[in-house]
Amino acid sequence: MAAISPQHTFEGDLSVQPMVISSGNMLSCVEPDYKAFIPGNSLRRMSRILKIGLTTALRCLQDSGIETPGAIVTGTGKGSLQDTEKFIKEILDYKETALNPTPFIQSTYNAVNGLIALQQKCTQYNNTFVHRGFSFENALLDSMLLLHEGKENVLAGAFEEITAEHFYIKSRVGQWKSEDISNDTLYQHFSPGTISGEGAAFFVLGPEATANTYAELAGLKMLYKPSQEKLAASLQTFLQSHEEIDMVLTGRNADINYDRYYQVVDQQLSGIPQLPFKHLCGEYDTAGAFALWLGAQLLKTQQLPLQWFPMQHQTPAKLRNILIYNNFFGEQHVFMLLKGI
């Protein structure tokens, strides 16, 4: 697996990486040197999220020792916003004439998948899910179905970017905090809105554990706009069919508008340590992919990078089962259960 995020995640070893602190309520990715992964002649035409998505996927394949995946399945809520904005702006500027084809081609949601397939010469199953806060989770579900059908080495992932234009549009509907905060103080600012983010995370999924396996994805549940009662009941059912939880990775984002859902989890799992992750990656449609990457890292290394979680005082002696709970602005709610190998 691999991730490019607003933190130093691309390097893999979290224990030596400091937390990246940003102000302005908009977290941007720490980008690696793309030239090590993408030929210069291809690189020149790609926009930022294409480079981020493709490089994360290639690093993931490298990490897994796989050259050609059995399938490529991704999720993205917005795709390449930079290209979409450029294309729309050019339509206006040039009055629907003399339009440059590249931003249009790259603005399509499946552009990253296409690039991965071209670069790795992979002609297998290839699909991109675009379902807002369920985009990545639907990619995961599709990947799990493929594994049941006998596919192996399914490359599953997600990618998302934030632009100044999109940040401004969403600020008009109150998605971001009105006060300017830095990400390390996020949970001290319980108020309407949160901080925005972006990132890409990719995983190679297989039916059996290998020496390279980080963790097992033992459960996945999606709920659309549940009531608090429905959420509580679903969590109870989800946990009944699984073992004891050692830690909860929570998508809590200090947005007072939707904190009531996280309080449901607090009540149901009181006494179990909770680790928030949105101060590291910000809020975006596919932030669940970052949580999955982080959870799998923690299970594999059994080490909590304390410099990333200064608020954490209670750490389990051994991590075996991690529950991930996340919701996207109160609409799409997800439970994932990760088990150590």
Binding site: N41, L43, R44, R45, T97, A98, L99, N100, P101, T102
Partner: protein, 85 residues
Amino acid sequence: MEELKQKLKEQIIEALNLQDTRPEDIKDDAPLFGEGLGLDSIDSLELMVLLERSYHIKVEDPREGRKILQSVQSMAEFIKSKQPA
């Protein structure tokens, strides 16, 4: 003509984001596609857009486009031929 060719080289580098390429690296009569700069079919569309936006020349026939976009020299000659004397 020399001034136009120099300007075209700068515009090609900018439009196609040819990092590490300087105008002096592009020879007037060197092929732009294949061996020369190694451009591809998407680049040819981008160059058509460049002609339309910067010189207000629309190339309607793709076969004609292939000849026009052969080199900086051929592009410059085509632009000159379309400009009023």
